[in-house]
């Protein structure tokens, strides 16, 4: 009992997709949070206290868009269950339902269901400006009377307009809470019934601004009913600009052409736009590294700091511009309203492979990171399509692989940004094609692999096109980039420390106690080579030698590959560490990792370790292999068992090894070394 009274009061925002919940959340909480245009993209709940100036002692919760209280997909089920009783925050004391008045009748359905469930409800009417453009207006007083709850108009984007709503929330929080009765029985008949009521109600509360001041009120009323019930009336038509844009973007021929162009542009710009910035970052880091080395002198801690930590982090920082661009373009697409169109265009082709148009956004997010992408697959209703989408998501090249491709491509095509950009797009596209082939194969044998109920459907609202709010996109991009660094940074530092230790011991002291002349670079290099060859890392790596040899690689790459299971981007930093240790050359500190790689030899053979063939092979390996522990964990959770993740590990990592082997040896066979 005491827990219940001590618990902070809860205000929950509920509404259909794109009705302004998140905007309202941001305005009320003051905390800038994502606003998304794509139905169902708000997977995770945001919760926050109210902005201090409002003086409301309660929690505010945002929620994913739902169109009714009958769940169809898993994310809707979670949303609705949590609305009735959130495991942590309990039942909401007040529910604020947002209703987009430009599609009043559709959005009122949810408000009516919420009211029927007995929640203490405030209905917030949004997009009144859009309705006004169609020269209509809602009579909020009358609506409030008919619904029997508080109704208020407000533009959630405007903090100045929010004061009356704040007062309403306060008033409602003070009144005693009401009994919520969960209604499980919402049949089609119930919904039809509600809609019938709404249609009657709509005639009463919708005011036509053109006829409102008509001399004769009776004629005005008659006109109004004619307009609302009649055809071709402006209220029944979607946003006219959106329809015009759609006539091009959803055109049968141009639509698909534009769709493909947008995708291609997105992936090529990752390389082209980023390269000048990357050069800048690269130079900066090398200068910093030599600065530290100079400042601290030639000893083990300066070595650890410069080569281990700064070098390791630096190589990942270099690729930050590319990752920022990727997130930025994704944000633009999301904010403009194009993503839902993309889903529609791609639905038919995807459905032939056992996927769904709704797989499009999870797949696209997969290019940023597999984890949110797998969560986003919850919007897919059909279980088989959802599992299949989750199954292929790891084949989308995530941003953690960008540093690796970036490094290998710069090695293969030094200075040729245009070509590198092109090849990078090719890598992405190949990843997609492979994923579609895999989906097709599994779909073919679905009885054996994914045998679930089979009612595939695709119904989705196409939101109004909006000019993306650059500020919002920038903020999202920024927070995504910070998250990336926060996730990657510590892992990289830890692995750099471990690797530095493993490569420097047990023989680190040999170097310091030896009485050989220290200044001589060639002697120095011999000592270092000797040390690394007898290090712990070498011992571990040499166990892997038999596996790496067929791929034309040696234990050093092997050790780095082991490290990738923590995070793929660690590959680059660990290569940097190992090669800067093994190939270190003091008279030229600024030699980049690429040069180190060029000079690296396979032990005892004098054969180059990194050749066109092996670099291409490594790219293939990273395209296919499932080497991310977090992905495996989340897949297990979302599919409720080990079956799918284990299948993925075996198939993808096996295929990665096989195809790397074929690539390396195939290239060599044709004389490319």
């Amino acid at each position: 009992m005491s827990i219940d009274t001590e618990r902070k009061k809860l205000v929950t925002l509920v509404g259909p997709p794109n009705s302004g919940k998140t905007t309202l959340f941001n305005t009320l909480s003051g905390k800038k949070h994502k606003t998304v245009n794509y139905p169902g993209a708000t997977i995770e709940y945001s919760i926050s206290s109210f902005l201090e100036q409002f003086d409301i002692d309660a929690q505010l919760m945002d929620s994913p868009g739902i169109i009714s209280l009958i769940p169809v997909s898993p994310d809707e089920k979670v949303t609705i269950d949590n609305l009735y009783n959130h495991p942590e925050f309990g039942k909401p004391d007040v529910v604020v339902v947002t209703v987009d008045t430009s599609q009043f009748s559709r959005h009122l359905l949810l408000a009516r269901q919420i009211l029927d469930s007995g929640f203490r409800t405030i209905v917030v009417l949004t997009m009144n400006d859009l309705l006004k453009e169609k020269s209509f207006e809602i009579d909020e007083m009358m609506l409030s009377e008919i619904l029997g709850c508080d109704v208020i108009k407000c533009d959630p984007r405007d903090v100045k307009e929010i004061e009356p709503l704040v007062k309403l929330i306060k008033d409602n929080l003070e009144s005693k809470t009401v009994q919520v009765h969960k209604r499980d029985k919402h049949t089609e008949e119930d919904i039809l019934c509600i809609y019938r009521e709404i249609e009657v109600l709509e005639k009463k509360v919708l005011k036509d601004l053109n006829t409102e001041h008509h001399e004769n009120p009776l004629i005005a009323q008659a006109n109004k009913e004619l307009v609302i019930a009649g055809r071709g009336s402006s209220i029944k038509m979607p946003d006219s600009l959106t329809m015009k844009i759609d006539s091009v973007l959803l055109h049968k021929v141009w639509g698909i052409f534009i769709f493909l162009s947008i995708m291609a542009l997105m992936f090529t710009s990752i390389f082209w736009v980023a390269s000048p910035v990357m050069d800048l970052v690269d130079t900066g880091i090398h200068n910093f590294e030599s600065f530290v080395n100079m400042g601290l002198g030639d000893n083990w801690y300066s070595d650890l700091l410069a080569k281990g930590i700064i070098g390791g982090l630096g190589v990942v920082l270099v690729f930050l511009p590319q990752i920022v661009i990727l997130f930025f373009v994704l944000g633009l697409l999301e904010d403009s309203g194009y993503l839902a169109r993309g889903a529609m265009i791609i639905d038919k082709p995807l459905s032939m492979l056992g996927l769904n148009g709704r797989s499009f956004v999870p797949m696209l997010s997969g290019f940023a990171c597999a984890i949110p992408a797998i969560l986003a697959a919850r919007t897919i209703q059909n279980k088989r399509e959802r599992y299949l989408t989750i199954f292929i998501i790891p084949l989308m090249s995530c941003s953690a692989r960008l540093p690796v491709y970036g490094l290998l491509l710069s090695f293969l095509f030094p200075g040729k940004y245009f070509l590198s950009g092109l090849i990078l797009s090719l890598i992405y596209i190949t990843g997609v094609i492979i994923s579609l082939i895999v989906a097709g194969i599994i779909n073919r044998y679905k009885r054996a692999i994914l045998n679930f109920e089979d009612n595939s459907s695709f119904i989705m609202e196409l939101p109004v096109y909006r000019i993306p709010k650059l500020m919002n996109v920038f903020k999202d991009t920024y927070s995504n980039a910070v998250q990336y660094l926060q996730k990657a940074g510590p892992t990289i530092v830890i692995f750099s420390l471990i690797l530095w230790t493993l490569t420097n011991f047990p023989n680190r002291t040999v170097n310091d106690t030896t009485d050989m002349p220290k200044g001589d670079p060639s002697v120095q290099r011999l000592i270092e080579a000797e040390r690394i060859n007898n290090s712990y890392a070498a011992n571990i790596g040499k166990v892997m030698e038999p596996v790496m040899k067929p791929l034309g690689l040696d234990w050093r790459v092997g050790v780095s590959l082991i490290a990738t299971f923590a995070a793929r981007e660690v590959f680059v930093s660990s290569l940097a560490l190992i090669f800067k240790v093994t190939e270190s050359d003091d008279d030229n500190m600024s030699r980049s990792l690429i040069n180190e790689m060029k000079n690296a030899k396979i032990n005892g053979t004098g054969q180059n370790l990194f050749t066109t063939a092996t670099a291409a092979g490594l790219i293939v390996f990273f395209m296919l292999a499932l080497q991310c522990i977090s992905t495996i964990a989340i897949t297990k959770k979302e599919t409720g068992g080990w079956r799918i993740p284990v299948m993925q590990i075996i198939i993808y990592t096996g295929a990665a090894y096989l195809f790397t082997f074929l690539t390396v040896n195939g290239l060599r066979f044709f004389g490319v070394n």
Binding site: I67, S102, E188, M243, L250, G255, D347, I459
Partner: protein, 77 residues
């Protein structure tokens, strides 16, 4: 005739919803109810899915799902 049989640009009025269709509940939730007027706006590549204007909104719907929406043309009656 159903929504799936309409051409691009054609307007029709919903006559009935086939409740034996597995998607019928979702279709009704999106606002496809008898008496409503709708218009097919665009068809995607391969003529599927359709984008339909209904109640002031644009809704993308697969032909398969659109089959449960029975319609008549306004001038037929």
């Amino acid at each position: 005739m159903t929504v799936a049989d309409l051409h691009s640009g054609q307007t029709a009025i919903i006559k009935n919803i086939d409740f034996s269709h597995p998607s019928s509940c979702r279709v009704v939730e999106y606002g496809f109810t008898p008496g409503q007027e709708l218009q097919v706006i665009n068809k995607s590549i391969f003529n599927d899915p359709l984008s339909v204007s209904l109640r002031g909104a644009l809704i993308a719907i697969r032909k398969q799902d659109a089959r449960c929406i029975e319609v008549f043309l306004p001038n037929e009656h």
